[in-house]
C-alpha cells in the first residue's frame, strides 16, 4: 500500500515519474482510464492529431487503483459536457484534470449520468430517431450499457459497440 491518491499532478508519485514525458501548458489530462482504452477514448472524442494539437498517451501505466491504467494529455483542449458524458460510459473510473499555465486548475471524476442526450446515435435502423424527426437521440444509462428511450434498444458500452455510434456535435 503506497497510501497515495494515485492522481496525476498530485505531488511526487510513481505516476509522475513514469509519465514525465511532457507537461502540458493548457489543456486536459484524462487519468485513470482502464488500461488499453486510451486509443478508444481518443477515437470517441474525435482526436486524431490532425488538428496539430499535442497529445501524449501513456498506456498500461502501473496504478494502485486500476492495476494498469492509461493516461492522456491533450494540449489546448477542454472537454465539453457531452464529451465528458461519453467518456463516463467507457471510462467510468476516469478523472479529468483541467490544466492552465501548467497548473491543475480543476480536477474531477466523471459522473455517470442517468441519461445522455445528443451524444450517441441509436444503432437500430428502425428507430424513430434514425429519420429526420426533431428529437435528439437520448439514452438511459444502465449498469452495463445504455438504452434508447425511444425504441428501447440496448447498446453495450463495450468500446466496439459504442465507438461506431458516438455522435458528438
Amino acid at each position: 500500500m503506497s497510501g497515495r491518491g494515485g492522481d496525476v499532478g498530485n505531488g511526487q508519485s510513481d505516476d509522475d515519474h513514469e509519465l514525465r514525458v511532457t507537461k502540458i501548458r493548457n489543456g486536459t489530462v484524462i487519468d485513470h482510464v482502464s488500461g488499453g482504452l486510451a486509443l478508444t477514448v481518443l477515437g470517441v472524442l474525435g482526436i486524431d492529431g490532425s488538428a496539430g494539437e499535442v497529445v501524449s498517451v501513456g498506456m498500461n501505466v502501473p496504478s494502485d487503483r486500476l492495476g494498469r491504467k492509461d493516461v492522456l494529455k491533450i494540449e489546448k483542449r477542454e472537454l465539453t459536457q457531452n464529451e465528458v458524458d461519453v467518456l463516463s460510459l467507457i471510462a467510468p473510473e476516469a478523472t479529468i484534470n483541467i490544466v492552465r499555465e501548467y497548473e491543475v486548475a480543476g480536477k474531477h471524476r466523471v459522473d455517470r449520468p442517468e441519461e445522455v442526450s445528443g451524444v450517441l446515435s441509436c444503432p437500430n435502423p428502425d428507430c424513430i430517431t434514425a429519420g429526420n424527426e426533431p428529437v435528439a437521440s437520448t439514452f438511459d444509462v444502465l449498469d452495463e450499457g445504455v438504452r434508447c428511450v425511444y425504441c428501447e434498444t440496448i447498446l453495450g458500452t463495450d468500446q466496439a459497440d459504442l465507438i461506431d455510434h458516438v455522435d458528438i456535435g
Binding site: D126, G131, N132, E152
Partner: protein
C-alpha cells in the same frame, strides 16, 4: 401513469384490471352516447385492418366519431412532413390520437408533441399494448389471469404483440414458456425488462415438450422475410405449425390464441376445436378498445389516478347529465372541455 398508452411496460396490474373491469361491464355489441361529440384521430402509417376498424367501431359505439388521415400515399407525409408535425396538427383536431407507425419508438416520440392522449397501436417491432389488453381480457374471460402456464410461440424477436404481452404478464402469477427458433428469440431489450421484473420465464425451441403443461398457447406468425432463403423458412415455420393433431397432447382446457392475421401457422382444423379462441379474441378488440377510449376521452388520462371511477359511476353521471339536459341545463361542460 400518464395520459398516454405507449407500451406494456407502463401497465401495472391495477391499470390492466381497471381497463379489463371496465370492458367486462360493457355490453358487447351495444352502443352508448357516453362520448358523444368526441373525435378520435386515426394516424395509421402502416396498413391495418383489425386494429384500425376496431378503434373506429369502438369510438362510434361510444357515441363519438373518428377522423382518419387515410393512406400514406394521399397524405402530406409524402411531402416529407415529420411525424412530429403530423401528430401536432392532428392533435389539434381530435380529442385523442391512435398511432401506428413502422418505426420503433414512434409513439413515445409523438407523445412529446401532443397534448391529447395518444395510444400506441403498434410501433414497428416495438410494442402493441392495446392488443395486449384484449389478449389479457380474452385470457381472463377463459381461464383467469393467475396460476397459469402460458406458452408464446413463433416470431418472438420481431413480434410486437409478443413483446407487449410478455411484459404485461409479469404483473400476474404466470409462468411464461417462450418457444421459438434460436434466431427468433426475444430481443435483448425485452429480456432485460423481464429480468428486471423478476419474471418466471423459460425458453424452448421445441413446442412438443412443453405443450402438455400449458393453459394458454399464444401463436404468432413466422414471416418469410426473416429468413435468408425460402427453404430455411419453410423448414423452421413448419416446426412451429399447429394443427388439431398437435393439440391431442394438450390439456383439454388449453386455449389457443393468435393476434391474427394468420397464414398457415394454425391449421384450419383447429378452428373447430374447443381450444380455438382467436376469433373470440379478435372480437374482444372492440369491447376492450371501447373501455380504453372511454377512459382516454373521459378524464385526465387513461390511467390517471383521479380518473378511477367505475363504469357504474360513469353510468350514474350519464343519467345525471341526461336529467340536467332535460331540465334545460347546458350539459357537462367539464367533459366538453377535454
Amino acid at each position: 401513469m400518464g395520459r398516454h398508452l405507449l407500451g406494456a411496460k407502463q401497465l401495472s396490474r391495477a391499470d390492466v384490471e381497471r381497463v379489463l373491469d371496465h370492458a367486462a361491464a360493457l355490453d358487447p355489441g351495444s352502443s352508448t352516447d357516453r362520448r358523444s361529440g368526441a373525435l378520435l384521430g386515426l394516424c395509421f402509417f402502416e396498413p391495418s385492418t383489425r386494429t384500425r376498424l376496431s378503434f373506429e367501431a369502438a369510438v362510434k359505439r361510444l357515441g363519438g366519431d373518428a377522423i382518419d388521415m387515410g393512406a400514406i400515399e394521399a397524405s402530406s407525409v409524402t411531402k416529407g412532413e415529420t411525424l412530429a408535425d403530423t401528430v401536432r396538427v392532428l392533435g389539434g383536431y381530435a380529442d385523442a390520437l391512435v398511432l401506428r407507425h413502422p418505426s420503433q419508438g414512434a409513439a413515445r416520440m409523438a407523445s412529446e408533441f401532443v397534448s391529447v392522449p395518444l395510444i400506441n397501436a403498434g410501433d414497428g417491432a416495438g410494442q402493441h399494448p392495446t392488443q395486449t389488453l384484449l389478449d389479457l381480457y380474452t385470457i381472463r374471460e377463459n381461464v383467469g389471469l393467475d396460476g397459469l402456464n402460458i406458452g408464446i410461440t413463433g416470431d418472438l424477436k420481431y413480434g410486437r404483440t409478443v413483446h407487449s404481452l410478455s411484459l404485461a404478464l409479469t404483473n400476474f402469477d404466470v409462468s411464461q414458456y417462450l418457444i421459438s427458433p434460436e434466431s427468433l428469440r426475444l430481443p435483448r431489450s425485452v429480456r432485460y425488462d423481464l429480468d428486471e421484473a423478476g419474471a418466471s420465464v423459460t425458453e424452448h425451441t421445441d413446442l412438443e415438450s412443453v405443450l402438455p403443461d400449458l393453459d394458454v398457447l399464444y401463436v404468432t406468425r413466422i414471416q418469410r422475410e426473416r429468413f435468408p432463403d425460402e427453404a430455411e423458412y419453410r423448414t423452421v415455420a413448419g416446426e412451429y405449425r399447429i394443427d388439431a393433431a398437435t393439440l391431442e397432447d394438450a390439456s383439454d382446457d388449453l386455449i389457443v390464441m393468435h393476434p391474427l392475421p394468420r397464414v398457415d401457422e394454425i391449421a384450419s382444423d383447429v378452428d373447430e376445436t374447443s381450444h380455438a379462441k382467436y376469433f373470440e379474441q379478435a372480437s374482444n378488440g372492440v369491447t376492450v378498445r371501447m373501455a380504453l377510449l372511454d377512459l382516454a376521452l373521459g378524464g385526465d388520462g387513461i390511467f390517471a389516478e383521479d380518473d378511477a371511477r367505475s363504469l357504474a359511476e360513469w353510468d350514474d353521471e350519464d343519467k345525471r347529465d341526461e336529467r340536467e339536459r332535460n331540465g334545460g341545463n347546458q350539459g357537462d361542460e367539464r367533459e366538453e372541455e377535454r
